[in-house]
């Protein structure tokens, strides 16, 4: 929501600086998103033109003698609209506009002691100015020369942008925010609203097509001053939808049902629609604005209403209340915030506008003192000086405290429980006044932390972070043969509509990013979700050989009994002679190898391995290791040599040897290739006592 600092000060009658107001909003839970000055001006003066004549040395310069409160100055201007007896605004010597400092200068032989200001130079956007105000300097019919124009027109205003919490939609209004600030600063509630009246002699104009180009600062003016909406509905809807203008917010009518209740409070400013006055501060809406169309959605006219002059309106049959016919469910659209609506706590069969005078919701919540003391760790908090102060502040907001019951103001639909009252209390008590203390914690489960990433890092793998979702056209690499893609029914703003079938499908973006930048020698890993709804470990390396990679995979998971099966069939994703499936308990859970060049043409090796699911995630780690006695005698060496075909794997022979009784370990000792065949020698380490049986079989 956008707010005028000056308007807040006027309505609260506070005398605080901008930092103090910002701090108050933040403390109250209305986060200040930004604060920007309307315009940075200094040293302006009102003046009255007493004499004008042409500069004899320049055709386009008019010499003006201008009477200021302190003295008469000679100021030259190129503007054509200045005449004697006009009131003007001038930058005199020493005045500043941003970084520019005005001084006394000689133009065409005559000294000029400043510059007459145009409306644009005072900070107003030309797009908002009616044509006659766009040319020349700012001319006023009357001005008090003793006043400061900056203060008079409130050019020293700040635009404050705050976030209003979703449970406090009623705070999208000056009415509530003014009361919040007054409670914060411990002032008494407002008894009558001091509506602002623009002192500018301009009725601003705006067209729908200009909305997008206006700055927030411009919109501050729209909010504060008189506005003519050239394109009527479209302009206003645009303003409101953009949340520009402190009083503006558009509600989508479809959110409103006639079975719900609303409160209306606070309206101020003057607005025109279709060139007609729709509302003026302190007056009833003009009869012309009464709804006439017969569309299905509800139209509520913008109308002035002061918080102590609330009106009750019934619309059950398009009929309106005794205070002015402005509401009908047969009409076009709803503008809110000039008239602020909130969804009230009770559903009724009528759409109505309720005054705080007319109806109080007789709803209360319990003051749970124990809860208040526990949450704040302050004994007898309500009787402490600060506690009493806080209660006073809450009462200023309209809360009534009767014994152990609190009656929130009718528009505070977010206060429904003791906890929510505690929240309201501590908001004013101040979180910074609570003394932090360590909690006691009951340890119900001790779990081991996964060291997988640290191990991979130690092996020289850099961790990458890739997206889970992928565009369907890029979700083609699918070695694990995942039959159906997990597809979002939500239209993804990122365009990534499917869960990847392999980490590769999104990690490849980062691989290519680095390779294109000439960085080609690396090892990386990523762990993330794939379409099996399992986490997948993915490795990519241009540094390690196949056997090294395989060894690493085995070493990373010491408690797994992986089986490696050579990819022999024709496979469109992996190169069969360079890849293996990883199986566990007969099921393929991953692969190691080379990706078909159709998907990736660089010389890398990859591994993808499905990790555990999370079904057993609340169990503490268990161990299955039980000590067995072992021989301390020296192991025995045996060499075993096999003759194999050139592309025949030694795997079968090694597997067979490893199953033999007494074999402790098998190493590859030597490979000798000759004429398409190869002799492979394996070095076998045997436990003592198994030599005879082994030799009988192999030597």
């Amino acid at each position: 929501m956008l707010l005028s600092f000056r308007e807040l000060l006027r309505q609260t009658q506070l005398n605080e600086n901008i930092n103090s107001i910002v701090n108050a909003f933040n403390s109250l839970g209305f986060e200040v998103e930004s604060v920007s000055p309307f315009v940075v001006l200094e040293g302006l003066k009102f003046g009255r033109v007493t004499k004008t004549y042409k500069n004899p040395n320049a055709d386009n310069l008019t010499v003006c003698e201008v009477a200021f409160f302190d003295k008469v100055r000679v100021i030259q201007t190129a503007a054509k609209n200045v005449k004697e007896k006009d009131y003007v605004v001038a930058f005199v010597e020493g005045a500043k506009k941003g970084d520019t400092v005005f001084g006394v200068k000689k133009f065409k032989g005559i000294v000029s002691e400043g510059m007459l200001a145009s409306w644009q130079e005072l900070g107003f956007n030309s797009k908002l100015l009616p044509p006659k105000f766009q040319e020349g300097v700012a001319i006023l019919e009357k001005a008090d020369l003793s006043l400061d124009p900056i203060k008079y027109f409130e050019l020293d205003d700040y635009l404050i942008e705050i976030s209003v919490l979703t449970n406090r939609t009623e705070a999208n209004s000056y009415f509530v925010l003014v009361e919040e600030l007054k409670a914060f600063f411990k002032l008494h509630p407002t008894t009558s609203t001091n509506f602002s009246t623009s002192r500018l002699p301009i009725v601003f104009e705006i067209a729908a097509q200009d909305l997008e180009s206006l700055s927030k600062k411009d919109m501050l003016f729209v909010a504060k001053h008189n506005l003519v909406a050239k394109n009527s509905k479209e302009v206003l809807m645009g303003l409101l939808a953009l949340n520009y203008g402190a009083w503006s917010q558009l509600y989508d009518p479809k959110h409103f049902q006639t079975t719900e209740s609303f409160e209306v409070y606070n309206a101020q400013t003057t607005l025109f629609l279709d060139g007609k006055t729709v509302l003026r501060s302190g007056s009833k809406p003009e009869p012309e604005f009464l709804p006439t169309s017969s569309t299905q959605i509800i139209r509520l006219a913008i109308f002035p209403i002061q918080k102590d002059v609330f009106r009750k309106i019934r619309d059950e049959e398009g009929e309106v209340s005794n205070t002015g016919g402005i509401l009908s469910k047969q009409t076009g659209f709803i503008f809110l915030d000039v008239v602020e609506f909130i969804k009230a706590r009770f559903n009724t069969a009528v759409l109505r506008v309720i005054t705080t005078q007319a109806e109080h919701f007789n709803s209360s919540v319990e003051v749970n003192t124990n809860l208040l003391e526990q949450y704040t760790n302050v004994k007898n908090i309500l009787t402490t000086e600060r506690g009493q102060d806080t209660l006073g502040q809450i009462k200023r907001l309209g809360f009534k405290v009767e014994g152990e019951k609190v009656f929130p103001p009718s528009y505070r639909s977010n206060i429904n429980s003791s906890e929510e009252f505690v929240e309201e209390f501590v908001r004013f008590f101040g979180y910074s006044n609570l003394e932090p203390e360590p909690p006691k914690i009951t340890n119900v489960l001790v779990k081991a932390q996964s060291k997988l990433k640290a191990k991979l890092s130690a092996l020289g793998y850099q961790e990458f972070l890739s997206f889970t979702l992928v565009r369907p056209e890029n979700n083609t690499f699918n070695p694990l043969n995942i039959s159906e893609a997990e597809t979002l029914i939500t239209q993804a703003a990122s365009g990534r509509q499917e869960v990847r079938k392999s980490v590769f499908n999104t990690l490849v973006e980062s691989l290519n990013h680095n390779i294109k930048r000439k960085f080609t020698r690396f090892s990386v890993f990523d762990i993330g979700l794939i379409a099996t709804e399992k986490q997948s470990l993915f490795l990519a390396t241009s540094l390690y050989e196949f056997q090294e990679l395989k060894q690493q995979v085995v070493s990373l998971f010491p408690n797994k009994q992986f089986e490696f099966i050579t990819v022999t069939e024709s496979n469109e994703f992996l190169i069969p002679s360079l890849s293996v499936w990883i199986k566990e308990e007969g099921k393929v859970i991953g692969w190691i190898g080379s990706i078909h060049p159709f998907y990736f043409e660089h010389d890398f090796l990859f591994c993808e391995l499905l990790l555990k699911d999370f079904k057993d995630d609340v169990t503490a780690p268990t161990s299955s290791v039980v000590y067995k006695p072992y021989s301390k005698q020296s192991l025995k060496h045996r060499s075993v040599t096999f003759e194999l075909q050139q592309k025949e794997s030694v795997k079968e022979y090694v597997d067979s040897l490893q199953k033999h009784a007494g074999v402790f370990q098998v190493f590859l000792k030597d490979v000798y290739e000759n004429h398409g065949r190869k002799k492979v020698t394996l070095d076998v380490l045997l436990e003592e006592g198994f030599e005879e049986a082994f030799d009988e079989k192999y030597n």
């Binding site: 933040n26 109250l28 839970g29 986060e31 919490l165 526990q374 949450y375 704040t376 760790n377 977010n414 429980s417 906890e419 929510e420 505690v422 929240e423 501590v426 908001r427 910074s432 609570l434 932090p436 360590p438 909690p439 006691k440 914690i441 009951t442 340890n443 119900v444 489960l445 932390q449 990433k453 640290a454 991979l456 890092s457 092996l459 020289g460 850099q462 961790e463 990458f464 972070l465 997206f467 889970t468 979702l469 997990e486 597809t487 029914i489 939500t490 993804a492 703003a493 990122s494 869960v499 980062s510 990013h513 680095n514 930048r517 690396f522 090892s523 993330g528 979700l529 709804e533 995630d617």
Partner: protein
């Protein structure tokens, strides 16, 4: 030459062998003594010569052993000196964790050492755990199909890790415990400097009968100070989350300004009730912290997209961090 003098020239086993031969040769000192023993005139002379010969032989054998050891050592030294490897060849530091993991690990360290356990769950969750059990009714804007990434009416990519807290509450209902979850969460956003459809969160939850706001504030201050490696100053602002009341937005003061860092609050009684807590004396506090946000603040990274680009020049900057 005297065999003792020859000993100085022994360099190899062959030299030693020749020295031994010369010592035991017939015309050597020892050989002459043996001949004199054989021709001794009396038993006393024989004994005296025998003692002399034994002494000489012992002296010689001692020397031979010393020389053998010297020759062996020289041989080892010679072999070793012939080996060479370019031990000065530089090493490329290639491995490392992603900065997001480094930050996650710091959260893990503090939380596990302070008695919290980690709970993981699938990133695809039910609407019930992501919303309903967290007091987010059907009208809540986040339940809008446009804002959250749904696979069907009931399954979606989790929008926060608070769904793990809902799971933990159900698993340990009517118990006191501390739990946390760290992982990826998803929203229907487009990528820009500060937004991504995928990011990571740590959610912490403590349930006990005396849980309070002062415990929450202490926890956040200690936790954030550890993760950011400096004593942080907190500013707490009232906020609104359907699953907590009171709800708090927490800012930290860093490098001269306040930075919004996390959302937190006391667990809403309705959330405890929905999880199956029947004893209303249980209270809890919870907090949800964006990992990327913390990483950006700690390392002063200005563009969120750098975390997903995985450029080595970016990632290597974090290689000195403890993994």
């Amino acid at each position: 030459m005297n065999w003792r003098k020859k000993a100085d020239e022994v360099q190899s086993l062959e030299d030693l062998k020749q020295l031994k031969n010369s010592f035991y040769a017939k015309d050597s000192e020892f050989g002459r003594l043996k001949r004199q023993i054989a021709h001794a005139s009396s038993l006393e002379e024989k004994r005296a010569l025998g003692q002399q010969a034994n002494k000489l032989r012992e002296e010689a054998e001692d020397l031979f052993r010393t020389l053998a050891a010297r020759v062996h050592n020289n041989s080892l030294l010679s072999k070793a000196s012939q080996r060479w490897y370019d031990v000065g060849f530089p090493i490329n530091r290639t491995g490392g964790l992603h900065p997001i993991s480094i930050i996650k690990n710091r959260f893990r360290d503090w939380l596990t050492q302070n008695g919290y356990f980690e709970l993981s769950s699938s990133e695809i969750v039910s609407d019930e755990y992501n919303f309903s059990r967290l007091n987010m009714g059907p009208e809540h804007p986040a339940r809008n199909m446009h804002d959250s990434l749904y696979f069907d009416a009931n399954r979606l990519l989790r929008t926060h890790n608070t769904c793990c807290s809902a799971l933990a509450l159900t698993m340990f209902k009517n118990k006191e415990f501390g739990q946390f979850s760290i992982g990826k969460v998803y929203r229907n956003d487009t990528e820009d400097q500060t937004h991504s459809h995928q990011f990571q969160q740590v959610d912490i939850l403590l349930v006990s009968k005396d849980a309070s706001l002062v415990h929450l504030i202490w926890t956040l201050k200690s936790l954030l100070s550890y993760v950011l490696e400096e004593e942080v100053q907190l500013r707490l602002r009232p906020s609104f989350f359907p699953f907590t009341t009171p709800s708090l937005e927490v800012d930290i003061f860093l490098r001269g300004k306040w930075i919004e860092i996390l959302g937190s609050g006391m667990v809403h009684p309705e959330v405890l009730r929905l999880a199956g807590y029947t004893d209303t004396s249980y209270k809890g506090f919870a907090a949800g912290i964006g990992i990327e946000r913390v990483a950006m603040v700690k390392y002063q990274v200005s563009d969120l997209r750098d975390f997903f680009l995985n450029d080595f020049r970016f990632l290597k900057q974090f290689s000195k961090e403890e993994v």
